[in-house]
């Protein structure tokens, strides 16, 4: 049989990120990835920086190096990433272990899926994130 040429139509990394007519859970997934990678980058540097204290170097203490406004702002971003990643992670732990998604049922049009069942959890997660962000912002600005 002659080999028929095919065009590889895989979306690639753009397929993780590109917005089409996608739903809110997909954006939650994208943000979870981005915040996770951001926190990991911070965390690896954080281990190195805090380990320096055994040499008597406290980069973060007093009015040292880490107190420039740009670092304060980036710290807030890390906190925001943590707030989102933690709240959304809580939802994911529940959902991915099969809780809060409902039982299998006879599909009757218009279909209600597990997405609809876990949606209130997502809303709670969003409010929790916003609450944490507000507390963090208040704290950072009043300090």
């Amino acid at each position: 049989m002659a080999e028929i040429k095919r065009y590889d139509n895989r979306l690639g990394i753009a397929g993780w990120l590109s917005g089409g007519r996608w739903g809110v859970e997909r954006y939650a997934y994208i943000l979870h990835r981005i915040t996770g990678l951001g926190i990991l980058t911070y965390f690896l540097l954080h281990i190195l920086v805090t380990s320096l204290r055994v040499k008597g170097i406290y980069l973060w203490a007093g009015h040292g190096f880490m107190h420039q406004p740009i670092f304060r702002f980036m710290e807030y971003l890390v906190f925001a990433a943590f707030a989102y990643h933690a709240s959304n992670g809580l939802r994911l732990v529940l959902v991915e272990l099969g809780f809060a998604i409902g039982k299998p049922m006879e599909p009757v049009y218009p279909y209600k899926t597990s997405l609809n069942v876990q949606r209130p959890l997502l809303v709670c997660m969003a409010f929790l994130t916003l609450g944490l962000l507000a507390v963090g912002a208040y704290w950072a600005l009043t300090k």
Partner: protein, 277 residues
Amino acid sequence: MAEAGKAVRQIAFHVTRYNPERDRVPFVTSYQVPVRQGMTVLDGLHYIKDNLDATLAWRYSCRMGICGSCGMLLNGRPALACNTQILHIANANLTVKPLPNFPIIRDLVPDLQSMFDKHRIVEPYILHANEAESDFWAGEFYQSTEQLKSYLQFSYCILCGCCMAACPTLATDTRYLGPMPLAAAQRYDADTRDEGRHARNAVTDAQSGVSHCHYAGECSRVCPKGVDPAKALQLLKRSLVLDYLHLGRQTSPCKKLQGPGNGTRLPDIAAVPKKTA
């Protein structure tokens, strides 16, 4: 309310074209289609083929959401062309692309072979510990309505590939099994007549297995049959975790009935017909 049969709007169909013998990359051709109330995307494609461009190729068969042939990317979302109303998703423009994450054979025809191969790997049929049971059954299996409901939803899959096209993991990962085969695995794992869960775990637990599902939820959102693959996959994860922690249900095949039992038949009920197979 527009009169049936009368065009209510001109809609531009932006259709992806690709001829493997001529084109290096796909390109887009636009067609003006007069759209009536109630016209599906499939009807629109037929209009183009009949009146504007006879070379347009796509795959379809039943035109009523049963066969799963006409999955396409309609305005950025995988759906069946036959059960998507044009006026529900388009105002003036409609982009029609082949399902992504599958190679294009021609125009709107994707090559679904990779999905069928992955489907085969999960052994989507009832497995018995005693293999002879599959060919020479000794009796009927009793299954309650509750037990039926635990997998019935996942058995409505028509293998259209919309979920595979919507899955973000499959956008980069060629080895990940994907929502359809894994939902099929859960459909048989959850079936009380089946004893193949532990055999299937070897596939669903592998690096290409269900741990690469992150609940983006697109598969369930686009499924034209309400199969809810995302739900199946989360239940599959739960059963895998329980199996890993040795807390899982030991396979308990449902009761096998050796015949109708010893009850007395009511006089107005006919006798059981003779076995034909």
